[in-house]
Point group: C2
Chain length 405, copies 2
């Protein structure tokens, strides 16, 4: 079995958490001072471990195994959401650092080495997956020119702060043969079930809609029920029908959400003249998404038949991302070898692996998150689970290195 140093891993993760520390979490949004400091910290750690490492002018940190012509790429991201948790992204980078370092220390002969990466702005402060998209030359200058944060700060201005760094690191298809990323689950399932290793079956596809209804504002005391065009109740009844039908149509892991409704004018004694609703659903199978969409559109068409007009606007359409079977099998086999039965589960959230998988085989491993808390300073995982996860991933990487050629 591969030997990693659990104490060193924990020490590194805690050191990294100290850069941009905020309460019990970290605030290290992309291109902020602590974000760049964390990336420079990682470069130093990688160099110290014996890798050729640098931060490029996008903020991506790549550490290359100096002795290898082919490598397994491991990593995640070190940027966070505002007031985020200490493990999101950082965990996967810490694992990659420790696994690459241990492998170099072991000094075994291998045809396939390990490269380490920390992608920039996975969290989308300026542009979601900027770093992984840049790595695959999948962003054009026009997109970068117009990208802005929620606060209106321009990505171009942020990029100026690292303009003196080397040109962007790019994916080398002759060198990096596959990608592995570890992450906390960001959901409650594994902890609730007492599971320590999750093999991500796929990253879910997402479809998101804004639904608008148009009726007429009337006095709610003097307008008989039969003479109303109630834009509020039209969407209330559509929403209830969606919940009922989706329950019937769902696969075990399908999720959906009615995240918002806004009523206008919104007074107790006025029949709502207009209403807006946000709906999304996620699943790992395109056919489930198709089934949901078809049923939803049919329900909206029925709702549109009364005196209230219904409009449906599609606001996001992200296809599911499959993971590479042989890589997932390596993670599962490693878990079993460590005495743990792995759970196969979808990732309901997006990750850099979603971008990477379009260009090379990729897989993801989850460890549990206490209470399923994520994107919050209360996010945490026990030290034992963190170290155990690194052990499992290290052996999975070792197996992949042996099998590739």
């Amino acid at each position: 079995m591969a030997r990693i140093n659990g104490a060193r891993l924990m020490s590194d993760l805690r050191e990294l958490a100290g850069i941009g520390a905020f309460q019990t979490g970290v605030d290290r949004v992309a291109f902020s001072e602590p974000d760049i400091a964390a990336r420079r910290w990682l470069v130093e750690k990688l160099r110290h471990a014996g890798l050729d490492a640098a931060m490029d002018r996008v903020g991506n940190v790549l550490g290359r195994d100096p002795a290898a012509a082919k490598t397994v790429l491991i990593g995640s991201h070190t940027d966070t959401v505002p007031k985020g948790g200490w493990l999101d992204g950082a965990l996967g980078v810490g694992y990659a650092l420790e696994i690459a370092r241990s492998a170099l220390e072991a000094n075994e002969r291998h045809a396939v080495g390990i490269d380490v990466i920390s992608f920039q702005d996975e969290e989308g402060t300026f542009m979601p997956f900027l770093g992984s998209r840049s790595f695959f030359a999948d962003v054009d200058d026009k997109e970068i020119a117009v990208a802005k944060s929620k606060d209106g700060a321009a990505l171009t201005a942020a990029l100026q702060t690292v303009a003196s760094a080397p040109p962007p690191h790019r994916f080398d298809g002759q060198r990096q043969v596959c990608y592995l990323e570890a992450h906390i689950e960001q959901g409650p399932r594994m902890e609730a079930a007492g599971q320590r290793i999750g093999v991500v079956s796929a990253l879910v596809g997402i479809r998101r809609y804004r639904i608008l209804s148009h009726g007429a504002a009337n006095h709610a005391g003097t307008t008989p029920m039969a003479m109303r065009r109630d834009a509020g109740s039209a969407l209330i009844e559509l929403a209830a029908a969606i919940n009922g039908e989706f329950r019937r149509l769902a696969d075990p892991d399908t999720v959906w959400n009615i995240g918002n409704m806004i009523f206008r004018p919104g007074a107790a004694n006025v029949v709502p003249s207009a209403c807006e609703m946000l709906l999304e659903f996620r699943d790992i199978k395109a056919e489930v998404l198709d089934r949901f969409e078809e049923r939803f559109m049919a329900l909206a068409a029925i709702a549109n038949r009364g005196g209230v007009g219904i409009e449906v606007e599609s606001t996001a359409r992200i296809p599911p991302t499959a993971m590479a079977d042989n890589l997932s099998a390596a993670i599962a086999a490693s878990a079993v070898a460590h005495g743990e039965t792995p759970v196969h589960l979808p990732s309901g959230a997006g990750h850099d692996a979603m971008v990477v998988a379009r260009f090379m085989p990729a897989a993801m491993m989850f460890i549990p998150s206490i209470g399923g808390i994520s994107h919050n300073v209360a996010e945490n995982t026990s030290d034992a689970d963190i170290v155990f996860g690194c052990d499992v991933l290290a052996d999975a990487v070792a197996q992949v290195r042996r099998e590739v050629v």
Copy 2:
């Protein structure tokens, strides 16, 4: 038959509409300059007609028949909502002026005369029904001391502007024997059915509630459906159940409204942690309101059984107000004498008659409103319907004066 002067009535109503004119309507909120100007205009008109008239220091205008010991009180209010219509309130005051004036001109011998009133602030700019409540000595100084407009203006400051006027007019139970008020319908029923005279069967009772749900905000991609505490869908399903059950339980004239829902945090990808909903229902029968409330509470209790907590807060509870049968019969008989079959219908909105009826017999007559528009500059009724309504009310008043002893 009593003779009223339709041309003079229309001329007076148009003159009154010129005071505070706004587009095709009027903006004459209580205690504004145009409101007080309209009240002074009315005092002059009443005096010119031969009544003893004055505005008191609340803003109420009372015109007293100088020759009578007993009177029928007729009137409504001349204040409006902001950017309101030209007939709401003004119509009933115009009718009262014309009917009292015509009666004095006819110079017939009657034991029972006519008093005319325009109540202050029916629309509740500072305090709903301030004028009618003051007339019956039903407001205490503490209420007045704290009353404020939506803009934060104090009622006490508004009252200062008329502080030099005489002490409040008060109801004299030996003199005013009953009350009649005419109003536009403020709803679409009469116009849609081609009906010209409505006899108000009762003013509806109103029950109003704020419903709060408390769940947990979770990532809508990573939290399985079974592990959610979705405060939004809990109220969506309660609201849909309310609509379904209320349809089944409603009398023909019962109305209800879900006027607002607010979701928190209100993002597409976050399971709603909290939701708020406004519900009201109205009917002329207390037993219908009781039936609705009982069913609503049962549905809320069912919704409360899941992981989401439901709280119900009662925010308004106004009992139905019955009208005096003999007065309503006089209006109906007058309509029939004029060749019109009257329609009996509830008033879904509040009126000064609601306050008055607690202290003396009262009745209300409706005329149609084009398109049911109310509290809007587009509010209108044909001249023919306005004059016809005054003719009908004049004869109803004549009959009541004959029948009273």
